[in-house]
């Protein structure tokens, strides 16, 4: 899987979180989103997320990417936490 595909998966997980909140129709705590959306996802690095982000406002994926919560926008936005090797453009 190329890096861009990993970015796409990361955004899809973010979309799933937004969908969950939208369907709930109420204010949803980060811990609930963690429990219902992020934790069941095979993409998520549980151990690292629980270790480095006990409030679940930063979700680490097994890929070099993750999602961080922006309280001002009530949105989960991708970030990169690991190295990527773009010396070979085919990796993209």
């Amino acid at each position: 899987m190329g890096y861009y595909d990993m970015v796409e998966s990361c955004w899809q997980l973010s979309d799933a979180a937004l969908d969950y909140v939208k369907k709930a129709g109420r204010s949803v705590e980060a811990s609930e989103v963690w429990e219902k959306v992020f934790a069941p996802s095979p993409l998520v690095d549980h151990e690292r997320t629980l270790r480095e982000s006990p409030l679940h406002d930063k979700i680490f994926l097994k890929s070099p990417y993750g999602l961080q919560y922006r309280p001002d926008h009530k949105d989960w936005v991708p970030f990169r936490h690991g190295p990527v090797d773009l010396s070979n453009e085919n990796n993209i």
């Binding site: 190329g2 970015v7 990417y65 926008h73 936005v77 991708p78 990169r80 773009l86 993209i92």
Partner: protein, 633 residues
């Protein structure tokens, strides 16, 4: 002695202050000392880009990215340079590489979204997704909402498109293009007054911009306020928008001010950028309307060799001559005149096809008389563009929408001579007189047919290029199918290929692969491999299958299907000269399994009319596979 970083900082400050040449000199000096200084390579590349020298910019920035693959800014600027150079594919790849480094890079999502939509919906879903992400990342950037609104409108999501433009304007009230796009979207929705206000606001902001006058002209034209439309189009043309010239001529023709239209044509035809093709159609119309056929013959014969707006227009000129032949009762001559021409020109398609059908009719010796409107007291509807804008399936699908609307609105549908009208058992009356234009009617026509539109539903109008139904409800299927039955007289030409297939197999699998102008205009292309893979799985399950291939590029696609021993029209029966597309179409309407070409109205229509098919499929552009096609929902 300054350090490298101090020299870079000084140069960068010059660069930011607009002293581009001084900054570029400094970057060059730095590169003399260190040819691999990635910052200097990147920034010198940027100065080259700013100077419009994209090749040099690409070379410098590509070197910087090669040496420092992690440089997000260099990749972004390189992508922009590639895009400006017209190298779209590499630009898209470079923006994706930025996102691999920085998945929340708004500029990259924005650029990716703005650049990745092609014609015919290719890439549009991905482009919309990218722009939605950009909008989420930076909800306060007006340009992103504006660009998203443009794509949503193209995707027929007009309500959301309007909301996006309003959002852009709430963030940047002076955003000219958002006012213009809002006006256009509101006009499409039928909110004419609001649309006019938005467009006038745009004009107040920039009265010198010809495209706004053009759009305001469209609004007045849509309202049948032809004098106002003419004023706006003339202003737009005077301000330099070449596209407005044909609209000036069209409006003068609609106003029956033929002398002025002719004067405008004489002025516009030599000018670069004029839509000569359309203007020549108006010239033909004016001459025929003025009963000046012999003058038309000599003029179009002469114009064949006269460059207009920088080139020759032999197809249009010969089409005019062919149309004159046809009107004179000599369809064989009309067909012969266009026989060896290859062109996507819709007018030529119509004239050639009508001439070929008329030639067949005469050879068969039956009479065909189109009726006149039997009840002039009833309201009317027509669409003159059925005869010159779009080709077969495009016009048939437009006809379906118009006829449904006319039935529901209680008016008589009058049609010009058009290919579907001659091919199918249709009996609509000929136009009994000109009607005011009604462009951009798709949304209202659809809304009225489906019962979702409660506003004013026009009648006594000429619905120009109305386009199609948005959805094809099952409830309409039998009614539409009952209209679109081929005339029985064409059976000797359209039945033999189907019979030949039935003679060699029990299950006809007909696949359509569209190439032609789809390649040229960047429409979605159906990969033969997708169908081959799908057939390999399906074939062993079928009872004595036979594969029929319909394509405008049989030599290019046939080999891919070799293992299924495909049959083409060439093998299956005598060709109907000039009307082979109708034979292909008929096979597609009779096959047991139909494979549609991506985004092709031709095979979609055939599948919708097919009563025999147990399965219809189409390419799944997202996965590269094949998925079921549901024609009526």
């Amino acid at each position: 002695m300054k350090t490298i970083s101090e020299r870079l900082a000084t140069a960068l400050a010059d660069h930011r202050d607009g002293h581009i040449d001084r900054a570029a000199d400094a970057y060059r000096q730095m590169l003399k000392a260190d040819p691999n200084n990635v910052d200097a390579l990147h920034l010198l590349g940027l100065t080259e880009l700013q100077a419009g020298r994209t090749d040099q910019a690409v070379a410098l920035m590509a070197r910087a990215v090669q040496l420092a693959p992690w440089m997000v800014e260099a990749r972004l600027n390189l992508a922009n340079a590639l895009s400006q150079r017209g190298d779209r594919d590499n630009a898209l790849a470079m923006w994706r590489s930025v996102l691999a480094l920085d998945p929340s890079n708004t500029a990259a999502w924005h650029a990716l979204g703005a650049a990745s939509a092609g014609h015919g919906g290719a890439g549009r879903a991905g482009a919309i997704r990218a722009l939605r992400r950009a909008a989420r990342l930076e909800p306060t950037r007006a340009e992103i909402h504006h660009d998203l609104g443009l794509l949503l409108r193209q995707d027929d999501q007009n309500e959301e498109a309007i909301a996006c433009q309003r959002q852009a304007l709430s963030l940047q009230p002076g955003m000219l293009s958002a006012w213009m796009s809002l006006g256009n979207a509101l006009l499409e929705k039928g909110e004419v007054l609001e649309a006019e206000t938005a467009l006038k606001r745009a004009i107040c902001l920039a009265p010198h911009r010809p495209e706004i006058w053009f759009n305001l002209g469209n609004l007045h034209y849509r309202n049948a306020n032809l004098e106002m439309a003419l004023t706006c189009y003339r202003r737009s043309a005077a301000l330099g928008l070449a596209a407005a010239r044909a609209r000036v001529v069209a409006t003068l023709v609609d106003l029956r001010r033929d002398g002025e239209a002719e004067v405008a044509l004489v002025a516009y035809l030599p000018l670069d950028g004029t839509d000569v093709s359309t203007c020549l159609e108006y010239l033909y119309l004016l001459l025929v309307r003025g009963d000046r056929q012999s003058e038309a013959r000599s003029l179009f014969s002469r114009l064949e060799t006269v460059p207009m707006a920088g080139r020759l227009y032999p197809v249009e000129c010969r089409t005019a001559l062919s149309a004159l032949d046809l009107a004179d009762g000599d369809p064989a001559k009309a067909v012969a005149r266009l026989e060896n021409l290859r062109s996507d020109n819709c007018w030529m398609f119509t004239v050639r096809s009508l001439a070929a059908l008329e030639r067949t009719r005469r050879q068969q010796g039956w009479h065909w008389h189109r009726p006149s409107n039997h009840d002039p007291t009833r309201p009317r509807l027509t669409s003159t563009t059925l005869g010159n804008r779009g080709r077969f399936a495009h016009n048939v699908l437009e006809y379906v929408l118009l006829r449904l609307y006319a039935q529901q609105r209680g008016c008589i549908l009058e049609t010009p001579d058009w290919v579907g009208g001659a091919y199918f058992e249709l009996d609509d009356p000929v136009p009994s007189g000109p009607l005011p234009p009604w462009p951009f009617g798709r949304r209202i026509l659809n809304g009225f047919v489906t019962g979702h539109y409660q506003g004013e539903a026009p009648v006594d109008r000429d619905a120009l290029s109305p386009l199609f139904l948005y959805d094809y409800p099952l409830a309409l299927r039998d009614r539409v199918r009952s209209w679109l039955r081929p005339r029985r007289q064409w059976a000797p030409w359209i039945d033999p290929p189907v019979n030949a297939l039935r003679a060699v197999g029990k299950t006809i699998v007909a696949i359509h692969i569209r190439r032609g102008d789809f390649l040229q205009y960047g429409y979605p292309i159906t990969e033969t491999q997708s169908y081959v893979d799908w057939l390999r799985r399906l074939w062993p399950t079928l009872d004595k299958p036979v594969l029929y291939l319909a394509s405008d590029d049989i030599p290019g696609v046939r080999a891919a299907f070799r293992e299924f021993r495909p049959v083409t029209l060439h093998d299956a029966g005598p060709a109907w000269p000039g009307l082979e597309f109708l034979q292909d179409f008929h096979v597609l309407t009779q096959a047991d399994i139909v494979g549609i070409s991506a985004a092709s109205g031709f095979s979609q229509l055939a599948a919708r009319l097919n009563k025999n098919a147990v399965l219809c499929v189409e390419p799944d552009l997202a996965t590269g596979g094949i998925k079921p096609f549901v024609g009526w929902v």
